[in-house]
Amino acid sequence: MQRIWTEKFRPLLFKEVIGQDKIIERIEAMTKNKNIPNLLFAGPAGIGKSTVALVVAKELFGDKWRENFLELNSSDERGIDIIRGVIKDFARTRAIGDVPFKLIFLDECDSLTKEAQQALRRTMENFTDNVRFILSCNYSSKLIDPIQSRCSVFRFRPLDKEGIKKVIEKIKKEEGLTISEKISDALYDISDGDVRRVINILQSCASLNKIITEDLVFSLVSAARPKEVKEVLEFAVSGDFIKSRDKLLDTMLKHGLSGLDVIKQIQKEILNLDIKDEKKLTLIEKCGEVEFRMVEGSDEYLQLESLLAAVVLYGK
């Protein structure tokens, strides 16, 4: 049966997890004692937060892990009422087996509103006897203090080159792929330390050819990553604000991009613009400010428009 490789190669045991060594060490010790506090995993996507949560569950509950483990996505099931309902139902029954508590994994907590977070905090308090929480988020600063103070916080880091290469090596061996050293390097550069991305790229490359070439990687990566963002920027530099922002909206909608995805790409592209270096500096500074405002504000698109207005002003 053909599987998703990110699942096929997802570590099942602590010792299989690549990267995050210090974190694994501590969590493994807690798990062995069958007593864990509430945990908060912070860090960017694709570096092992969900994987570690799953490993904890499997280590704690053995083959009963499915009964004792609940996984929820805050960004999909946004209403805290839904979450509370589901959590209550789940927590009402006792844990099965020799561990006295059940485990709830709440992914992408930073997409909850402050109000919902307050509710979550109370829920956490109400069920301390028989439920432990593992929360994950990209930015712990987006969580209210009372939640952070109720959890042991672990900051996950993007994998380093060595870590990513280990992952590639493992897949290469098991799938019988041909990947040169140079291409491994290239894959690391593209990945930003995101394991999920590396594995997804490898699987889509391998579906075409088991011999992975540089051309193959780059053609696939660019096919999977919209190049329209560059056009958005080009319109702005040429002074056409309206075309630029229309293209921005279309691109975001077409590819389901978040503002953050877009600004990351814009920030990289600014360096390639044909403008004076001083202006690049100004724009990068504005980029940072806009990224900050996106975190604080409500409408990422509007914030990006303000960035485009800056590009129009400084572009020429």
Binding site: I4, S75, N200, I242, R293, E296
Partner: protein
């Protein structure tokens, strides 16, 4: 051709005014006496005059609101035609349509000049007005006969609209047509115009058609607010501009965002205005996150006064504003993406990622894999979904 022109009554028996009043008017005209016709807008005053002229085989010499009616013009244009004989010996009615237009400094002396013409004229003069008792025209009123024209009742409007619909092959919802007739409040011209506007696209009048009428009223409101914001610079006026409309802040924000780059043509102005909108949005984010509603004050301030004060010089060009298409685009994108979302829900289930994350980080690669002819059994996709991915 506009319906109001096409269906304007041309004969006396098509006019919806009582026999008695028609006779009164006819009598005064035959006696060459001046007449003031008093009635609200769209009650059929002008049509009546033309229909009567037709019946009597008279010409109509009309001056209306579009002509300046100051003393000079009255003396130069109206007076001669009131004195001279007509071509081919036909009778003539001098129609001063909508005398309200004759006001202010531009028409100084117009009323007095007209009063003189009234005395000397060889031909009957008909003056229409919506306010015969206005002090300004009292000297005219004293020398003229007065005929009151009532507004249309909504049933009559309804019947007229119905006839037009039948004649134009317009499919209509009866309740909607009734509502349209009611809303015209006696103004047949407005009713017919509305009908034509609402049905010009697909010759259909449904219940939902009327919503766009509401919309039009709202639009006028928001236009005023946008004018204040984009053209003005006085904080006091600008800050309350949105409050005064029925439009809520979110919608107003969309309007401002949409039209800003069309209004602020200098890059510097555009930049600082977007700085302001950006700040307004930050406060909105804080409101949502903290549920602290007093921040609305600041949001409102930055999106109105902030934007208004972002321009170096005033823009004085005339502007029309357009509605933001953002929400509509969001909606269509959602419709278009339904299949994609259902696929991503399956990915989410199997791959321990949120649907959102699946859309961004996983879906593009899954699509590539399917495009290359392979598939992933684990995802349990149905035929339609597979086809969607391969297309």
């Amino acid at each position: 051709m506009s319906f109001t022109e096409k269906y304007r009554p041309r004969k006396l028996d098509e006019v919806f005014v009582s026999k008695e009043k028609i006779l009164m008017l006819k009598k005064l005209i035959l006696e060459k006496k001046p007449v003031i016709m008093n009635g609200p807008t769209g009650s059929g005053k002008t049509s009546l005059v033309y229909a009567l002229a037709d019946e009597l085989n008279y010409d109509v010499f009309e001056i209306n609101g579009s002509d300046y009616r100051n003393k000079n013009n009255i003396d130069l244009i109206v007076k001669p035609s009131s004195l001279e004989g007509s071509l081919f010996g036909r009778g003539r009615i001098i129609l001063i349509d909508d005398i309200e237009g004759l006001s202010g400094t531009k028409d100084r002396g117009g009323v007095q000049a007209l009063a003189n013409v009234l005395n000397e004229s060889k031909w009957p003069i008909v003056i229409t007005t919506t306010d015969a008792y206005n002090q300004k025209i009292s000297i005219l009123r004293k020398r003229s006969g007065l005929i009151e024209i009532d507004p249309f009742d909504s049933l009559t409007i309804f019947n007229i609209l119905k006839k037009i619909c039948d004649n134009e092959d317009i499919i209509y919802d009866e309740a909607a047509l009734k509502e349209l007739s009611r809303r015209a409040s006696g103004d047949i011209r407005a009713a017919i115009n509305d009908l034509q506007n609402l049905t010009s696209k697909n010759k259909e009048l449904g219940k939902e058609s009327l919503e766009s009428l509401d919309d039009r009223e709202k639009k006028e409101e928001i236009f005023t607010a946008l004018n204040l914001i984009f053209k003005g610079r006085e904080i006091g006026k600008v800050v309350n501009s949105i409050e005064k409309t029925d439009v809520d802040l979110d919608e107003a924000f969309l309007w401002i965002d949409e039209n800003l780059p069309l209004q602020y043509l200098k890059n510097k102005d555009l930049f600082s205005a977007y700085e302001s909108l950006s700040k307004a949005d930050i406060f909105n984010g804080r409101i949502i996150r903290w549920q602290y509603w007093r921040f609305l004050v600041y949001r409102n301030f930055f999106m109105t006064a902030g934007v208004a004060l972002s321009k170096e010089d005033k823009y004085i060009n005339f502007s029309s504003y357009r509605r933001s298409s953002k929400l509509l685009k969001l909606f269509w994108a959602k419709q278009k993406n339904l299949k994609k979302i259902s696929i991503c829900e399956k990915i989410s289930e199997k791959n321990h990622v949120s649907v959102k994350r699946a859309v961004k980080d996983v879906y593009p690669y899954i699509k590539l894999i399917y495009k290359s002819g392979r598939k992933i059994d684990e995802l349990d996709l149905d035929e339609e979904e597979i086809e969607y991915l391969r297309k």
